[in-house]
Symmetry: C3
Subunit: 310 residues, 3 copies
């Protein structure tokens, strides 16, 4: 399957062969500069949710390819009107400016799909890149996560992953699980308080793929055995009860003694930014891969632009 001209709406698009090509291109881009295939072109970025990391990462990928970026973060100012309507209007107008790609971050789970359908209906060829959609998907983060696993462990098969913290609202968990479900020999654990348990749809994905998984609120036995500790940050916005949030937030903190119990070859991932769920003292450990994970972001997104728009 080729990504050429296709929108990146959910992690499902990264089939094993697509991911293999993406990973190979990304690795080449770690040290080399790409051809400037976007020279004198623009990439449009509409962010209805603010973001520093994902924005900069996509922006850098576009710049490395020679593009200039048309960016708006205040897209949400029009939210007073019916959301779907205005999102369709804004993206229709941006499409008329003929950017090479539209990168969209939105608080609604279905926003990227709605926009993509609308573009197709109207005859615009502009591919849509989902840069995070509500509690739904974050496909480029998932591809980045799996790339990090491959690069750090040397493999994507027979990987045992524990997701820790917010398994319920974290879109990076959902998106990465989609990819893990296709990796031979994967095993998955969800470590969380009851309030942040993983959703039925994610469990279904694993069940259908025959991937074994467990749910627990005790990670003592998992820490020394898993290959990947995927830490996440419980977010205040999902809690109406402040006290509840404070409790949940501090339940799973990866401090130095805990991290030292991990296998030497195991790795810690985190989509960043972190709050206090990983202690600073952990950073120098070889297991701490979260900054390298961030480093791979721009080259991976550059590679993705190449495959979709090249």
């Amino acid at each position: 399957m080729s990504l050429k001209g296709r929108s990146i709406l959910d992690a499902g698009i990264f089939t094993p062969d697509v991911f293999a090509e993406l990973a190979e291109r990304t690795t080449r881009l770690l040290d080399a500069r790409p051809e400037p295939i976007f020279r004198d072109e623009v990439v449009a970025m509409l962010f209805y949710q603010p973001s520093t990391r994902t924005r900069m990462s996509f922006q850098l990928a576009a710049i490395r390819l020679g593009a200039q970026v048309i960016y708006t973060e205040d897209a949400g100012q029009f939210s007073s009107a019916a959301k779907g309507e205005i999102l369709e209007d804004t993206t229709r107008i941006v499409a008329g400016y003929r950017p090479k790609a539209l990168v969209l971050r939105h608080h609604d789970e279905d926003a990227p799909v709605v926009v993509d359908r609308n573009m197709q209906r109207l005859g615009f060829a502009m591919p849509v890149f989902n840069a995070g959609s509500g509690a739904g998907e974050h496909p480029t983060q998932a591809a980045l996560d799996l790339y990090t696993i491959q690069r750090e462990l040397g493999r994507t098969s027979d990987v045992e992953v524990a997701f820790v913290g917010d398994c319920r609202y974290s879109r990076t968990v959902r998106s990465l699980v989609t990819l893990l479900a296709r990796c031979p020999g994967a095993k998955v654990h969800f470590v969380s308080v009851p309030e942040l348990r993983v959703g039925a749809d994610v469990r279904d994905t694993l069940d259908r793929a025959g991937v074994p998984y467990t749910e627990t609120d005790d990670w003592e036995d998992l820490v020394p055995t898993v290959d990947i500790l995927y830490m996440t940050r419980p977010q205040k916005e999902w809690f109406t009860d402040e006290a509840m949030f404070q409790t949940v937030k501090d339940r799973f903190v990866l401090d130095l003694p805990t991290a030292r119990r991990m296998k030497p070859g195991a790795r810690i991932l985190h989509p960043l930014p972190r709050n206090e769920e990983i202690a600073l003292a952990v950073d120098p450990l070889p297991q701490a891969a979260y900054f390298r994970q961030a480093d791979y972001g721009p080259p991976l997104r550059t590679a993705l632009f190449q495959m979709v728009c090249g």
Copy 2:
């Protein structure tokens, strides 16, 4: 008359011969790329009022010409000080950075004129582009509107236009009327509630040009006869009375049955964004020209940069 080196402060600058050249250049740019006359140069954009569409449109025009854009949207943060003083300071400083053009959007009607005069007094050659000034002028929008009329109807003479909604505070109405007043055989209608009636200065413009116009709060008979329905969006900021705003806002809504009563060759324009004054169901009609109108924005502004700075 040549636009070379001149500021674009109000729609009056678009005399018939200037507009003819602008329109010709715009049409050429619909499919072709311009020479990068701004290569390694910058265009400064100072927006004291936020805007997504006008900003992106100007930004794209500058980028297509090879420029990078120095943009500030938080210009308004200095509004605590005496406005005129600080506006003069900020624009003087920006002028010292030697941009090829200054694009200014401001809540004061006379801001562009004040800045332009100050620049001339200080000996700076930097042209000022008014990208919307309070309830005053929006000259590039007016040129875009007239271009859309020409392109969609095939002519700018003998055009009958009904402005609908906010005839009072809409700067796009005032600016476009200036241009229509010079089009042979123009007829104008203002459709609004009494609170949003067109101002005396606009009526004067038409009177002096001998252009017939009517004012009404009933558009039933106009819908099937006019060539252009120019819809506008009543804006909450002008109403102290919330209930009043709600009533006014819903008074003239172009729904599908209404739109279907228009002549086949007639067109609907709107400066966008819309709220609910045009139903989504209207979009597929051939009369719905508002998105094409937006599409013409970047090439028209590119053409204008060429004429002023080329």
Copy 3:
């Protein structure tokens, strides 16, 4: 001493020979374009405090060298977490994007030093440019100020400078004093209300250098004798008492009669923006050098980028 690869954390780095080279390069850049040594590269700007002038000035310097700018002004959104921790995380991530330089503006005095140390510890070669740190330092502004003095007076020795207004919290005062302390024959006066008197560290700098200085709340006798009146803007944020701020703010206003008492060859400097501490009527005087001072900003920062990153 060479600036190559070094961070610009405080004004102390501008030793006489470094400053001489910087000044010479800046003067050359007033009329000429630099080699685009940043072509296809990015410069990262993290602004935890908003700024229009300093931002645009650095941005323009980067653009003139061919760079694109990755900018974030909402860096402060993460301030809910432990500041030091998150600043280290954010800058570590940005460093991984391999920008040619990191320009940092932050409300903490020690932020640039903390970041620079962290970068060195982690093995990143990215130089850090302090674009203003709390009430601490603003080294590029100080270099700009001294360059303006040299260019306007024709010398940096035997210069008598009166700082007026906020001598306590103004980081530009502290940074410029560091440079003046190295200029032979310098004399310094601090004109302020008691609440805004200069700090002990600044007085120490002058004492150690053997530079004579006075402190006063009466500038009548100084106005006709000094070479440089360095006006500053008392900032509301430092006052808990609104009435106190209003009194202080209006205590030293340079109106036309006062400015006319200055020596013909003397000059008025101001880091801008001004509130009301310099009357508009003063602007046309030959002594009014504050806008030229701003004009020198982009070429000076371009020269600095050349020396550090070239």
